[in-house]
Structures are given as structure tokens and as C-alpha cells.
Amino acid sequence: MALIELRDLCKRYVIGGQEIMALNHIDLDVDAGELSAIIGPSGSGKSTLMHLLGCLDTPSSGSIKIDGTELSKASGDQLAEMRNRKIGFVFQSFNLLPRLNVVQNVELPMIYAAYSAKERRQRAEAAIERVGLESRMHNRPMQLSGGQCQRVAIARAIVNDPRIIFADEPTGNLDSTTGASILELFHELSDQGRTIMLVTHDPEIAAITPRCIEIKDGNIRRDYRNDQKTSTAAASP
């Protein structure tokens, strides 16, 4: 069974009385352990897709199953719990809380789950070591470089040991060398068996992920694997 199962998924917005079809009857399966990129120009619907996959939103119609849980009719609390337990987010603008230091930022997801203070500290420190920032444990985000901030964000995303990590343009605010090292980190995490989905508009990133899902105008245009170079047809024209 696939970790993520989308069936006939639609998302409609009404903006100024006009209905916009952000996602148009999408079917998609992602298996556990895959590292894939969702690529598409802005306005293609890739952010909407990520919000749905990331349990930040619910679809207008269709079904979305993550780790066996049907989420199309989930309540706000259920979604929050999914985000907390099964999903980690990495954002383009890092989204760290400026008043908290590195450890406190990484601990943040755990205060919404039942961990003791000691456990929180241990897990946070382990996650920070994993991204190689143990020397910056007590610095504030302001005192870190962009690449270091993104590493803290990744540590925060993996600290609750989620099933899937979503990264929205994780290298968008970084120079190419730093960006490459962040991508390297994602590859390492993927090699350890984590499921990772990168959302990007950068074809270079898409070129080095094993799987690439191309989205345009609310449809999956192409879904191919880079190593095998096999592509499947889009779900709908």
C-alpha cells in the first residue's frame, strides 16, 4: 500500500465570484522512502497540492489518504495531529521563531505532543546533531547564516520522526553552494529511508531527485523517474 494515495482529488477556490480549479482530478501514489520533486511554474497548483498533502487544507472533492488515514473529511484537530505526528515541513523562508534559540525552535513541535521536558531536550539535541549544528545549539536564528537556519528548520521537521517531509522551495533563499549542501542533506535523509517531497520550480533540483512530478494548470503533466527515464501519461489532458 502506498504511503500517499490521491484519488480524483479536486480543489476549487472562489475568488471574486469566479471559480478557479486549482487542482483538477488528480490521482497520485507515493511509496514510503521515495524522494520526489513536485515541479511546476507558479500558479500551476503545486502549492495547493502541497498544502493538501501537508494536511494544512482539505480538498473540495476526491479522496486523500496518508499512511492509511482518510483526510478528505478530517476535522481541524485531526489535521493538526497529522501535521504534528506524521509530517515535517521545511519552508523557503525557514519560518523559525526569532525569539527562541536553536534548541527551543527544534523542540517546538514536541510541545504539542506529549513528551516530557527531558525527552524533548534529548530528541532536539539528536536532531540538531543530525543536521550538523551541535555547536550552534544556543544561538538565535538571527545569529545564523541562511544555510544554518535551513538546517535548523530541517532538524525541526525530523524531530518528531514523521513519515513524510515536505520542503517548499528549500533552496530558494540560499546561494547555490549552500543550496547544494541542503539538497545533499535531503538525499542523506532519503537514504535513511525517509519519504521526502520537494516542491520547487527549479528544473535542476528536479533533475537530481529519483522521481519528478510535473504539474501544470492543476493537472499532473508528467510523472517520471530520473534513473529509469520512464514517464507515465498525465492523468487527464
Binding site: L56, R85, N95, L96, R99, Y112
Partner: protein, 448 residues
Amino acid sequence: MNLWIGVQIGIKEIWAHKFRSFLTMLGVILGVASLQSMFALTAGIAKGMRENLEAVGGVERIGVEDKEVSEELLHIAEISPGITLDDAVAIRESASLISHISPEVNSGVRLQAGSVKSGARMEGIMPDFLVVDNHTVEHGRFITDLDVLRGERVAVLGHTLASQLFPGVPHSEVVGRTFAANQRAFTVVGILGLYESEREKRQRELLEQQRAKSGRSDEGRIEQHRRRRGTFARKNWSLLAPISTVQMEFKSVNMVGDVDQGPDKTLSNLQLRVRDVENFDEALAQVTTVLNHTHRGIDDFGFETREDWFDRINQSVASTRLSGGIIAAISLVVGGIGIANIMLASITERIREIGIRRAIGAKSRDIFLQIIVESVVTATIGGILGLFASAGMIHVLILLAPSENTPILEPMAMLISFSCAILIGIIAGLYPAFKASSLDPIQALRYE
């Protein structure tokens, strides 16, 4: 998210904006301080009023006094003997709801003890006077039934009078000494305690402190202070003797026309004490029945009671408390509005933070809780500071203006004002918390 983490986040947030938080708290501080001061002021006023009431014998006391006879009985008013010792005897025999009866016969006398000469009003009394007039005996004993029975020439002196009559003699040694009242020798058998109101006590203590500081004996000023007419001047200057003695020695002749009627039985004063305030009206009815009989149906007597007085005290305290409470409540509400205002500004500032928290798994009730807790923490700290502020204010007030209405800090009032602050914190946080918790996570994350 548990509450403790919420409190920690709240305190951190307040600490991060120290000055802003202090300004926000100021409203609550002033609100709590004014509520607290209002409670203390009314408690002080109530205490001062009750003290005055106690000074005249408390609620249980009834004074029997002469009254204008009604017009239809005026022509036969002479058949009533007036308020006499017989009334006291009759009430003692037949008014079961009265616990103490204190008849009084007064006579002005000239006093002499050694070289000291003075004038005073000698009160002829019975032992019940001790209870009815709220006296305490400091040295010696009080007038006894035996003294009354035998008409002994003994006297109990008020504290100030004893000092005046026997200057420089310790009060314990004044007992046993003699003095002359209208040339008749009286023996002092007891000295009463010194009665003073809170304010007089404080003034006396202040004076003694000054004296101790300057190191010189300032007996004169203390004496002068004692002479000053205070709330209890009448009691401190009292000169008490058995009622029979005063009647026999000073009022033994009662001429009606050319005939001597024997000792004058007319009382200067008749005070009663009710056994139980619950039965106040019944007791009054009993006494009325008895007196109607002894006065032969003439309604030439009336009662002076403290019940109205007592009710008035309670009423005025209640109304002061109400109006003061409303004013204080307004300032507390203003403090609450201040908190609500700042919380609204603060969540607008932190929309992105709220989005991040939602994205990593905070439920909307976690956000609600965080904002409410922050608001309550602000109000609580404000409340605590307010309690200290009011304590300081009241202390200054006491130092500046010692009076019998000194404000009193009551633990109950502190509890109430503090709970009000917390309540205000909760109410002020409700709307901002609701607003923050209903933000859409995606919108909040995108907010710049």
C-alpha cells in the same frame, strides 16, 4: 500543549516587551489598587463607626428616658412618679428578656484629695453598670451589691480622674486612699482601665515615642493629652459610687410642699441591656408593659436604642462599598480593555508565528490557550503588583492621617481584588484568543 508550557511562553512574551507589558499591566495595577483601597477604606469606616457604637454600650443597650406626655393624658401626668428606682426593681423582677439593669443617680460634687481640689459628677450606680457601660477594672474591684446594700462610702475612679486626683501616685497604690466629696470621706476601691480610640492610642504612642527620643521627661504634655476630650472622655473621668450612697448622702431630702418624702428615688438615668439582640423588640415590649404599670398608665417614658444606629452603619457601609466598588470596577475594566487591546495588536504582530505553530501541529485550541494564558499572566502579575501598590498606599494614608477610620487591609478583600484581576485577564483574552485560534494556517503562514 500543557498549561505550564503555556505559562512559560506567556512570561517569555511579556519579558520580551517589558515596557509595553508594564504599561498594559498598569491598568490592572491601578484597578486592583483602587479596588483594594476601597475595600480597606470602607472596612476602616465600618470599624470606626462600630467602635463609636461600642463606646456607648453596643446594640444591646437600651436607655430609658423621659418623654413628653401625650396630650390626652397631660392633665393627670402628675400621678406618674417618673423614672425611679422602683422601675429598676420592677424590670428586674418581671422583664425576663433583660439581662442587666443599671439605674443611675448623679450628683455634682466637689472633690479634695490632699491639696488637690476638683469638681466632678458622682454617678451612683449598681454593679450591672460594669457590663452596661462596658467598663474594665484595672486595679482593685468594682462596686458590689454589698456596697449598695450597706450604702458604703466607697468609689471607683476613672483612669484620668485617678491620675488627676492623686498626681504621681501609681494607680495600684491609689486603691485604699481616701478623698473627700462634699466633705464626706470616700475610700477608693478600684481604678478603671484607660479607654481610648484607635486614633487616640496612636497619637499617645507617637507622643511617647517622641518623648523617648528626646530623652526628656515630658510628663506635662502627656498629661495635657490625657485631659484632652477624646471619644471616651466621659468614661475616663468617671467617679462611681454605690447608688444608695449617693441617694443617702446627697439626695436624702425630697421636699414636696412642706413634707419631706425621704430620699429622692428619681433616677438620673436608667440603662438596660437586652439578653439577646434577636429578641430586641420582645424585650422592649416587656419593659414597656412593666413601666406602664409602675408609671400608672402615663406614657412619660421613651427608649433610646442603637438599633437604628446599627442599621445606619450597615447601610452607609454598604452604599459606600457599592459606589466605591463601581468606580474601582470601572478602572479594572479599563485595565482589561488595555490588555485586550495589546493582545489584539500582539497577535497581529505574530500572525506568522501562529501560522508556524499551526503548521507544526498546534491545534486551534492550543493557540487559544496560549493567548488566554498570556493575557491571564499579564493580569495576574498586574494583580500582584496592584496588591503591593495598595498596601503601600494604605500605609502612607495611615501615616499621614491617623483617624478612627483608618483603612484596614483584609485578606478576604485581597482575595476578591486578586480574583477580579484574574477574571479580567480571562475576559480580556477571550476575543484575541478566539481571533488568533480561528486564523487559517495557510493564510497565517503566507502573512508578511
